[in-house]
C-alpha cells in the first residue's frame, strides 16, 4: 500500500515539474498580454515577442538531440532553414488560392515541420552512425550544405507555371509576367506576416508537450538509455538506430516549426551565416548548454535571457557585443564550474538546514 503511494508520488513529481514549466509559459504570456493591453510594452519588446518564441522552440528542440539523445548537433539551424523556406514558398504561392491567413498559416506550419522532418531523416540515417565530435562536424557540414544549396535555388512563376533552376534567375526563361519566388541568395521577399505572439506561445506549448511527454514515455527512456550507455542499451534489445533517428527527426521537425515562425515574421528571407549557418546553430547550442544540458526549463530561460541580452545592451553601442561575450563567458563559468556548483550547493544546503532548524 505504502509502496504504491510512492509510485504515485513519483509520477506526480514529474507531472508537477512539467506543469510548472507549462505554467511559467502561460503566466508569461498572460502577463505580457496584460501589459500590452495596458500599453506598457515598448515597440522593441513587442517586436521581440515572436523571436523569443522562435528561440525558445529552437532551444527546447535542440535539447532533445543534445540533452536527451546525447548527440552533439552543430547543424540545427539548417532544419530551421528548411522549415522557413519550404513554408514561405508555400505561403507565397498560396497567397491567392487560400485567402484565409489563419488556415494558410496552419498548413504552412505543417509543411515546415514535415519538410524539416524529412531533412532530419535524410541527414539522420547516415549521420547517426557516427559518434561524438564526428557526428557534430557532420551535422555542421550538412547545415552548411543546406544553406549553400538554398542559396543557388531559383524558382519563378509565370503564366506557364512554375520554373526552377540552380544556375541563376535568367536560366528560368520566364515570360514577361514572370515573378521570382525564390531568387537564389536574394531569397524570398513578401512572405505574409502571419506569425503572432499568441501562435508562438501556442507552438511553444505544443513543443513542450511533445518533448516532455516523449521524455517520460517508453520511447523517451529508450532514447536516454542510448545516451547513457549504448552498449548496454543494445544488450537489452533496444533498437538504437530507430530511437536515435526518432529523437533526431522530432527535434528537426520542431526546429522546422521555429523556421516557419521566423520566415512569417519578417518580410525578407535570405539564408545567411547569421540566421541559418553554423553561427546560428552554435547560438542555439549556447542556449541549451547554458540552460543546462537536458534541462528543458533551463533552455527556455537561457534562450530568453540570451536573446534579450544584446538588445538590453544596445546602449553600449560598439562595445555591445564585447560585453555580451564577456557576460556569456562569465555565465558559463558561473553555471558550470564544478567548484562554484559545489559552493552553491553547500550554501543553499546550509541555508535550508538553518531554515529547517528555525
Amino acid at each position: 500500500m505504502e509502496k504504491s503511494n510512492k509510485t504515485n508520488f513519483h509520477l506526480s513529481k514529474t507531472l508537477k515539474s512539467n506543469l510548472i514549466t507549462y505554467g511559467i509559459v502561460i503566466a508569461a504570456f498572460l502577463i505580457v498580454q496584460l501589459l500590452i493591453n495596458a500599453g506598457q510594452v515598448s515597440s522593441l519588446m513587442k517586436g521581440l515577442l515572436v523571436p523569443l518564441c522562435i528561440y525558445t522552440i529552437l532551444a527546447v528542440s535542440l535539447n532533445l538531440t543534445v540533452g536527451i539523445l546525447g548527440e552533439l548537433s552543430l547543424g540545427h539551424a539548417a532544419f530551421m532553414c528548411v522549415g522557413a523556406f519550404s513554408s514561405s514558398l508555400f505561403s507565397i504561392s498560396m497567397l491567392e488560392a487560400i485567402p484565409n491567413s489563419g488556415f494558410r498559416f496552419f498548413l504552412a506550419i505543417l509543411i515546415g515541420a514535415a519538410a524539416a522532418a524529412v531533412a532530419g531523416i535524410i541527414i539522420g540515417i547516415p549521420v547517426l552512425r557516427l559518434r561524438g565530435d564526428y557526428l557534430a562536424i557532420v551535422t555542421l557540414a550538412f547545415g552548411e550544405i543546406i544553406k549553400n544549396v538554398v542559396n543557388v535555388i531559383f524558382i519563378g512563376k509565370d503564366s506557364n507555371g512554375l520554373h526552377f533552376s540552380m544556375k541563376n534567375a535568367m536560366a528560368l526563361n520566364m515570360e514577361k509576367d514572370g515573378k521570382m519566388i525564390l531568387n537564389g541568395a536574394q531569397g524570398i521577399t513578401g512572405t505574409p506576416k502571419d506569425s503572432t505572439f499568441f501562435i508562438g506561445v501556442l507552438l511553444i506549448l505544443v513543443t513542450l508537450f511533445i518533448v516532455l511527454n516523449l521524455i517520460h514515455s517508453r520511447s523517451g527512456r529508450a532514447i536516454m538509455s542510448v545516451r547513457d550507455n549504448r552498449i548496454a542499451a543494445e544488450s537489452i534489445g533496444i533498437n538504437i538506430t530507430k530511437y536515435k533517428l526518432m529523437a533526431f527527426t522530432i527535434s528537426a521537425s520542431l526546429a522546422g516549426v521555429a523556421g516557419v515562425l521566423y520566415s512569417h515574421n519578417l518580410s525578407s528571407l535570405t539564408a545567411t551565416q547569421k540566421n541559418f549557418g553554423y553561427n546560428q546553430s552554435i547560438m542555439i547550442l549556447v542556449f541549451v548548454v547554458l540552460g543546462g544540458i537536458g534541462n528543458i526549463r533551463g533552455s527556455i530561460i537561457a534562450a530568453i535571457t540570451l536573446t534579450l541580452l544584446p538588445e538590453l545592451l544596445r546602449g553600449l553601442n560598439t562595445y555591445r557585443m564585447l560585453i555580451y561575450a564577456l557576460i556569456l563567458i562569465f555565465m558559463m563559468i558561473f553555471n558550470w564550474s564544478p567548484k562554484l556548483i559545489d559552493l552553491r550547493k553547500r550554501f543553499f544546503h546550509k541555508n535550508k538546514a538553518e531554515r529547517e532548524k528555525v
Binding site: 556548483i341 559545489d342 550547493k345 553547500r346 544546503h349
Partner: protein
C-alpha cells in the same frame, strides 16, 4: 615514525559528507589495511590522500610535510603511488607506454629500466602484451598493469584500492605476495580491500571505516578476532 598522518579529515561530494572527520596514521615500513563496506568512504580517503580530491577540513602529513593543500602531482613526486579503483589505465596507450608513464617522476634511465624488468618478471603477461593498447586487455590484465604502473615510480608509500579485484585466485595470492615483498623492500603500504581476511592477514594494523567514520582500529591480528569485524567482514 608516522610517514603518513591523517587528522580530522572531512570530504564532501557536493552536499554529501563522505568523510566525517577521520584520523589515522601509517608508520614507515608498515602495511596498514583500511576495511569497510561498500560506500564507507575508503576510496574517498585514498583519493584525498593522493590529491585527487580536496578535503574541506583536516590535514594530511606525508613524510613530515603538510600535503593537505598541495597539488596531486607534487604528492606523487614526493614518493607516493596510487593504484586507483577501477584501474584507470591509459586505454589508447600501449602497455609499455603505460608503464613508462608510471616512472614519470623518475630521472635515472638505468634505474627505470631495472624496475621495468622487475615488473615484467613479476607479470610476464605484461611483457607478452607490451605493445597491446591497454584498453583491450582483459580485466585482470588491466589490474596487473595498474599495479605495475604504480610500482614503476618506486614509491615510498603505495596506496592500493582493491588490488585483487577481478584477479583469478592464483593471481590474488600472487598480488598479496607482491605487496608483502615490496613492503619488505622498504615501501610502506596503505591497503583497501574487500577481501578483508587476506588484507588483515598481511597487515600490521587496520582501521575499520563505516559510513565515513573510523569505528575500530588496532592490530590486524586482533581485529581479525574481533567479533563485530568477523561478523561484518569475514563471514565464511
Amino acid at each position: 615514525m608516522a610517514i603518513l598522518e591523517v587528522k580530522d579529515l572531512e570530504v564532501y561530494y557536493g552536499v554529501i559528507k563522505a568523510l566525517k572527520g577521520i584520523s589515522f596514521d601509517v608508520n614507515e615500513g608498515e602495511i596498514v589495511a583500511l576495511i569497510g563496506a561498500n560506500g564507507a568512504g575508503k576510496t574517498t580517503t585514498l583519493h584525498t590522500i593522493t590529491g585527487l580530491l580536496k578535503s574541506a577540513t583536516g590535514s594530511i602529513k606525508f613524510d613530515g610535510n603538510d600535503i593537505t593543500r598541495i597539488r596531486g602531482d607534487k604528492i606523487v613526486g614526493m614518493g607516493m603511488a596510487h593504484v586507483p579503483e577501477g584501474r584507470r589505465v591509459f586505454a589508447a596507450l600501449s602497455v609499455y607506454e603505460n608503464l613508462k608513464l608510471g616512472a614519470y617522476t623518475r630521472r635515472d634511465k638505468n634505474e627505470i629500466e631495472e624496475t621495468l624488468q622487475m615488473i615484467y618478471k613479476r607479470f610476464p603477461r605484461l611483457l607478452e602484451r607490451k605493445n597491446q593498447p591497454a584498453g583491450t586487455l582483459s580485466g585482470g590484465e588491466q589490474q596487473m598493469l595498474a599495479m605495475g604502473r604504480a610500482l614503476m615510480s618506486h614509491p615510498k608509500v603505495i596506496v592500493l584500492d582493491e588490488p585483487s579485484m577481478g584477479l583469478s585466485p592464483i593471481y590474488v595470492s600472487e598480488i598479496f605476495d607482491i605487496i608483502q615483498e615490496i613492503n619488505k623492500s622498504g615501501t610502506t603500504v596503505l591497503l583497501v580491500e574487500q577481501n578483508a581476511k587476506k588484507a588483515l592477514s598481511i597487515a600490521n594494523r587496520a582501521y575499520v571505516l563505516e559510513t565515513g567514520d573510523i569505528v575500530l582500529s588496532g592490530d590486524a591480528k586482533e581485529l581479525m578476532n574481533n567479533d563485530s569485524v568477523k561478523k561484518a567482514y569475514l563471514s565464511e
